[in-house]
Symmetry: none
Subunit: 225 residues, 4 copies
């Protein structure tokens, strides 16, 4: 037990250092040497605990993700109403990413685009966490709170896509300073839509997009030339 604890402590120590370095430099520009230095350990020792540099990277999100989603699960039990639950979920995402900046940077700027990460335990945890959104949407549809004709997968995509976009922008530009202030307007917008229900002008009736019909382009080269 004591031995296992020590090993776990060492792993955490390395993961912490690695998270800092990866978040700051990205995967390629981070070096094992720098991670080792930051963890006050030898480079060789890192390889006692992780098989490769990429393996180390993949080990980083698991702990944070589990923590965040456990928290999410806990809160969802206390809340009534699908819309309220959605708001809570969006809040917790934004809140957590803001709190765990390194975690956010590693997920948004490094791991999200790595196909090998898809087959990782860390990704599994995240997938399971995201499934909460589907459940809540389905719950809202069942209860009549949400429209019957919704596709939960698409709603989830809108929510996750929006969150990821805002968090990525925040990581890249530093704006807005406080992510949490986006929660309410974003959730309002998604829940209520952007359409003005008071006064829908009839002649602007919605048109559907034709699928598989080629887009007519006036003259490809002209406008930019």
């Amino acid at each position: 037990m004591a031995v296992k604890k020590k090993t776990e402590a060492r792993k955490k120590q390395i993961i912490h250092a690695a998270a800092t370095v990866f978040a700051e430099k990205g995967f390629q520009d981070a070096t094992i040497s720098e991670i080792a230095k930051k963890a006050r350990i030898s480079e060789a020792s890192i390889y006692e605990y992780f098989t490769t540099k990429e393996g180390l990277l993949f080990s980083i999100p698991a702990a944070s993700a589990r923590e965040i989603f456990d928290l999410m699960e806990f809160h969802l039990k206390l809340i009534r109403g699908a819309a309220n639950k959605l708001r809570s979920i969006v809040f917790l995402f934004m809140h957590s990413y803001q709190q765990h900046t390194e975690f956010a940077a590693i997920i948004m700027l490094i791991l999200k685009h790595n196909k090998r990460f898809l087959e990782t335990e860390g990704h599994l945890i995240i997938r399971q966490g995201i499934r909460h959104i589907n459940k809540v949407v389905e719950e809202g549809i069942a209860s009549g709170e949400f429209r019957k004709d919704l596709n939960p997968y698409l709603v989830r995509s809108i929510i996750i896509g929006t969150i990821e976009h805002l968090v990525t922008n925040w990581l890249m530009t530093g704006r807005p300073e406080n992510l949490e202030e986006l929660v309410d307007p974003v959730v309002d917008c998604i829940v209520e839509g952007i359409q003005n229900r008071q006064d829908p002008p009839a002649h602007w009736s919605m048109q559907r997009m034709p699928v598989n019909v080629p887009v007519n382009v006036p003259d490809q080269g002209a406008p930019g030339a």
Copy 2:
């Protein structure tokens, strides 16, 4: 002139080869050697036209982006109604990304996370293109088609975030096969919202999220234990 044309042709030839290789391998795993081979040119010659590997990467999206946004601008003139314009924009994004897979992969999987790209001409073009969405939203608000209290920046974030998420997923997993079939449900959802207006149960009235109030966590370890 003739000289300049030849230079431009050479550049296009290199950019085309680079786009293919970068899209397939990513930035780090792509090599100048492979790009040179694909462009049937020497490695050294690439440096006659581009200063660095990253400079070459940054040069790739400009042309495609300009083409896409020119097309978008052209179409928007023909359409009446902000919602219809939004639908058209989403359609054109999805359609274009699907048509220009390499462009999509380079934007979504490589450039989106590169801070230095932010100060690039390619990024400027993209930014300008995305501004169409803002304009349309503002137009919709002004005309009364959209709610008065909308934040155009957030609406844009929802739309762009959703598109990027769906396109990225498509690039990473190959699903869904046809991105265009997502356009209508996504736009419907964003325009009309997910809330069921027929029968809103009163006791589930929407709650707002408190900002800057720490989330109370009962016991960090408890839920998962």
Copy 3:
């Protein structure tokens, strides 16, 4: 005593594992880690019994070599005639190498080319064993069975060289399957020579090689051009 026995047992256990691994992988590609695993012991424990990886390697052949040469000595006492003894020696070498493949591989493919091995106890034992050949040759010369003008050292070199060559080939290519079937033809050849005594054509009288006379080469590049 009991302690010493246990120590000896441990040593044998390690040597056995090491022999297997060294024979299979060669010296460089064998790792202490793999030897330790095969010996069901920790890596550190190996260093309780052997000072270095090379020291462990050098400890391997002693036991087998002693066994083989004891057997050889025993058999030689029972045989009369130098030629018969030589045949017996060659047989025992081939037989033993075939039986102890690992020993053969370690001697032929690893140790034979290691200068430091020359000053080792294992090499001493082998040298002593090989001396049997010298003795038998000298005995044959003294008894008149062999030609008076033989250089025992050279005869020994021919015999050992031939054996080593055949065994090495066998280890490298797997052919011939059975080394022992080479014994008779090889010994016959060495004892009786390759010359046909029935009908030696006079005009092909043997010429001796000039020593220290440069070889005249017509034109280095010519023959192959």
Copy 4:
């Protein structure tokens, strides 16, 4: 042409340096760094001409081997009589190995035990060169100069084995100083055999070795205990 010449010159320069270092240190202890330094070239440049360290090693013997065997072929045309030709072959081997010490060391101490070398052009050349011995033996058998019942493969093994043994010993111990002085006694011995034809004592008639009959060992553990 001029370009190809330069490339070939560079290759030779690297091969020369590599030969020196490999011969002195062995394969594993030789470093690309040291070879590069000795060739007055950068480490990276070595990889412009050779794909791997082992590839470089394998490239070393080809040139020397071709040179030696071309010379051998040339000389063999001038000599009459199989025995004389054999003597010439043995002489040329010993002479060449003595002249090209590095070549000898690389062949005898490094390459001879590398299975991957078997599939190399260098090994092909050596195999072809060694085939001369077979031809000469077959020629001798056909002409009646050698015994009809000889197995050319075994005779070749005796000759090559003896040469390799003597050269290896010479490389390892430095003795004898002059390899060429071994040529005559060795060839005499192999051609004429070691048996004394004047006075063969009848009661020491040659015995054949039983094949596949287990060797009776008095008591395995006793002698060495």
